[in-house]
């Protein structure tokens, strides 16, 4: 796969996997409004994933490779071929874990989309310009929840800190740029503004910024935890059991 296609695949896979995780909450949200919000964010991310995966397939074909559709890419690849961030495949856990994961992702997603919309190649910029408006809305909501739960009861505070400490080692990968990232966007430049945004929110939420720790990576290169396999087993079941099924 060529560089631009690979880059689109990374964004598309992160959107798709996070969307699937959020979809797991459907019918299980703590209150009706949250159930709707989680699934609406999932829907936005799924829509974005479709655009990125379609473009990835087109770019691959234009470079002389085979032409794969969004469905081929979503349903017919195994875990080792997925390029999503490890952060988004982490399980939902409790609400603290789901909202912390969302916030850490949104705070990265929005400035990345802004950078792509402003300076990315035309077709990538078009998708980013569309997605950035949705991402801004997602960030506002997940930031509110981090503050509300962090600065909430003793129990909610404890759970938030636990979630934050557990997810923190998966944040380094978001800024660990390789040749694929560097060809499209200066990813490393986004780290300082991200850290400032996160620090300010955590201060409001009375949460401790985790100490510098060893960072896990590999998702963007296809090295995943077994958690992704379980997620894909559910997401891809229908196409695997009944190849080519349509409805």
């Amino acid at each position: 796969m060529n560089t631009a296609a690979e880059f689109c695949l990374r964004l598309g896979d992160s959107d798709l996997v996070l969307s699937q995780r959020l979809g797991e909450w459907c019918g299980h949200g703590p209150v009706l409004e949250e159930d709707l919000a989680l699934t609406n964010v999932a829907l936005d991310l799924l829509g974005q994933a479709r655009l990125w995966l379609t473009l990835a397939g087109d770019l691959e074909a234009e470079a002389g490779g085979q032409h794969r559709t969004e469905d081929d890419l979503a349903f017919l690849r195994d875990a080792g071929q997925f390029r999503n961030l490890l952060l988004v495949e982490q399980p939902n856990g409790d609400y603290a874990q789901t909202m912390t994961r969302q916030y850490l992702f949104d705070a990265w997603h929005l400035p990345l989309l802004n950078a792509l919309a402003a300076g990315g190649p035309a077709r990538i910029a078009a998708i980013a310009a569309k997605a950035q408006k949705e991402a801004a809305y997602h960030l506002r909501r997940s930031r509110d929840w981090v503050v509300r739960l962090g600065d909430g009861t003793t129990e909610s505070h404890r759970r938030m800190q636990t979630a934050l400490d557990g997810l923190w080692p998966f944040t380094g990968e978001m800024f660990a740029a390789d040749a694929v990232d560097n060809a499209v966007v200066p990813l490393t430049d986004l780290q300082t503004p991200w850290r400032e945004e996160v620090s300010a929110t955590l201060a409001l939420a009375t949460l401790e910024l985790p100490a510098a720790a060893w960072m896990q990576k590999g998702g963007k290169q296809g090295v995943h935890s077994e958690k992704l396999g379980h997620l894909l087993a559910e997401m891809q079941f229908l196409q695997r059991a009944y190849p080519g099924a349509q409805w």
Partner: protein, 157 residues
């Protein structure tokens, strides 16, 4: 060949499947209509990336135009520039109000927190219950004055 103003008039009759009061033209979804020889091309832009209504809308547009004798019809999706609630026409905003949905803050005012007026009693004393509502484009509000819940069409600019 049918004149384009006539086509636009027909498109005014196609409504959003989830908010039937408003037409797809007043919602700002139809970006362009043009003839390519005998074929009519209708360019539409999606509202929210994942909004499932867009596929229904594309189908409704094609079948409505076919019913008026226009065929073949080609539907093209255009992403850039991205759809904005600023593209909702004044007629569209009024149609939303009539269906008890508060329209998005007008162009230019979307950056600041807008005062969201209750579509039932007009009071500005309202609160957001949930940032997401019954469709991707709406948030759920409640009026403190008349106690009624209502939908707010989220500004996206």
């Amino acid at each position: 060949m049918v004149a384009l103003p006539q086509v636009w008039e027909w498109l005014q009759e196609v409504s959003d499947p989830e908010i039937p009061a408003i037409s797809v033209v007043d919602l700002g979804i139809v970006r362009d209509v043009r003839w390519h020889g005998p074929e009519l091309e209708v360019t539409i832009t999606p509202t929210y990336s994942g909004c499932p209504a867009i596929q229904v809308i594309a189908g409704d547009i094609a079948s409505h135009l076919r019913a008026h004798g226009v065929q073949p019809v080609r539907l093209t999706t255009r992403l850039a520039p991205a759809w904005s609630t600023d593209w909702i026409t004044e007629r569209g905003r009024e149609a939303l109000r009539q269906s008890q949905i508060t329209p998005p803050a007008p162009p230019g005012l979307t950056a600041i927190a807008p005062q969201v007026a209750c579509p039932h009693c007009g009071s500005g004393d309202t609160e957001c219950v949930s940032t997401f509502g019954s469709t991707p484009c709406k948030a759920l509000y409640r009026c403190r004055a008349c106690r009624e819940p209502f939908d707010y069409f989220k500004p996206l600019a």
